[in-house]
């Protein structure tokens, strides 16, 4: 249905402009962008602009001297910082892949198979969404701890023996990332699977395709904008994730978000932190442009809500 919805002309636009009242009606619509542009200009665009300016400034022991230098970028792209930057991108890609693998079957079952259990299952997926992200992440600290519940289950199943040393390692961060972003992954996927008309899949079946063929050649291509939206919504915020590595990663699991945070509330090297933030924004901008055609305007989010 997404193709129909996005390619259809906007209802009302044609009929209104054809009427003598058209000018009066559009009058108020001309003014609607003023409020969001003004508000977001002050509290979103301007602050990001300040960060960009800071990224080129000199750091003076907790202070900032405005200048035009690339030393912050050089520092952010060398040694340990570069390593963490690349490590973060790899981790975000892996976390996204993990969430996709775990989320795809769930979204498919929810959208196409759940039948009368649909509402119950959808609420169960959304309950984590409505409870504190911080506290849910914290809970993994107990779950994954040595002697904790996960260790007990793994030992019982014979998948692991002895004490579980996953806390404060990359493993715990990876589990936390997949867990934390799973609802974000599932919702757009669910909406796009759900919107596929049953007749289309039936036609594929009548033409002799089996389940797997139908999924690969019919379901997945129709759901493609939703899949890309889900990937984008998961990957991009992961590159700046702070809470999960801070709680589950310890010293070994630091990601870019933690580095930026430390430059601000720890080392007080604001220009370096700003340069790191600008680098993250650049990566996101590139990914966003690359995905802009593929996602069809995040249509699924509005519909899901």
């Amino acid at each position: 249905m997404s193709t129909i919805a996005s390619s259809a002309p906007r209802p009302g636009v044609g009929s209104r402009s054809a009427r003598p009242f058209g000018l009066i009606v559009t009058g108020i619509e001309r003014l609607t962008p003023l409020l969001p542009l003004a508000w977001l200009g002050v509290f979103f665009v301007a602050p990001l602009g300040f960060t960009v300016v800071y990224a080129f400034a000199n750091s003076t022991f907790g202070g900032v001297q405005l200048a035009f230098t690339f030393t912050n970028f050089q520092q952010a792209l060398s040694g340990f910082y570069l390593h963490i930057f690349l490590h973060t991108l790899v981790f975000a890609a892996m976390g996204t892949a993990g969430a996709l693998i775990v989320g795809m079957p769930l979204a498919y079952v929810l959208g196409r198979k759940a039948g009368r259990y649909r509402t119950v299952l959808a609420v169960a997926v959304l309950i984590p969404f409505w409870t504190s992200f911080l506290l849910r992440t914290l809970s993994w600290e107990t779950l994954l701890a040595a002697g904790g519940p996960v260790q007990a289950v793994l030992n019982f199943l014979g998948l692991h023996s002895g004490s579980l040393g996953w806390i404060d390692t990359n493993k715990a961060v990876a589990i936390g990332l997949v867990y934390g972003y799973l609802p974000l992954m599932v919702v757009p996927l669910f909406v796009s699977f759900d919107r596929i008309p049953a007749e289309v899949l039936e036609a594929s079946k009548d033409l002799g395709a089996n389940r797997i063929k139908t999924f690969l050649h019919v379901t997945l291509p129709i759901a493609r904008p939703g899949v890309f939206t889900a990937i984008l919504l998961t990957f991009v915020p992961m590159t700046g994730e702070f809470v999960i590595p801070a709680l589950l990663g310890g010293d070994k699991g630091v990601l870019m978000g933690g580095l930026i945070y430390n430059q601000y509330l720890g080392a007080a090297n604001y220009p370096l932190g700003s340069a790191m933030a600008v680098l993250v924004m650049l990566v996101i901008g590139v990914v966003l442009i690359a995905f802009s055609r593929l996602t069809r305007g995040f249509d699924q989010i509005g519909v899901a809500a």
Binding site: P128, S132, A305
Partner: protein, 303 residues
Amino acid sequence: MSTLPLAGGRISRLRASKLSRRFNAIDTGLWLITVCVFIFLLAPIVTVVIFAFNKGVLGKQTATFTGFTTHWFAAVWADPTLHHSLAVSVKVAVPMALISVIVGTTAGLAVVRHPWKPMRLTLEALMYYLLVVPEIVLGISLLIFFTRTNFTLGYMTLIAGHSPFPIAVVALIVRSRVVALDATLEDAAADLGARSWRSLLDVILPQLLPAIITGLIMSFTFSFDDLIISEMLATPTVSTLPVYIFGETHSGVAPNVYAIATMMLAVTLIGFALVGIVSRIFARAGAQEVSLSSAVAGQHGGP
């Protein structure tokens, strides 16, 4: 597809029965994965509730259950810092949700309806960027901005700082609703002499109401749950609940944290139930309105 044999009728039933064994294998696999994923999703929440009643050792949370106690709930209840940060969270989240709904709704309208295409595209691009900018980046930017422009950090800066992301969410929800608006209703309103602002108030906004209420709840939740921007903009006196909780976790999990989480979960579930009831009432009222207005517009049956 379980629905397919039903929809397909007799023709496909024969083939379906031939392949049914393989179909069932796929279905069983899918459901098995689903069950596992649900355990994965819900295990942390169950853990939080169970360990909220854990005695722990020497005032620390432990990974194994050492004994049942309700002590932590009493401790949380008697904690004045917690009361204060909870009050701050509510005082920030309520006005913030109202502002994001107002700004987000106008943005959602403009992104579909503004006659000038570059304006629509600009707004759209802004929404996407808002949605994906990491909070840490926005958090430090707001901190630089407010300190450089000599804003005093406090309630106002926290409210303004929380607002960008919820505005984008509200705008997207409203947009999907605006796209689906029934144009004949506005035509009818104009034919009956309604001016543009009348049409907006009496015809468009009522149709957007479900989207606006959803946006309101989501905005409130975001603000209430936000840690990173709050952590950046918090002051010793104006500090939200997540900031307090995060501070408590610096040396391992403090046991009272799970008790807080359990209470918040209970409140959320009660809220869920209330929203369910309210939306049911709304749905009933809305259905009547639609049938009435579609009668005015000369439609039969309605959408």
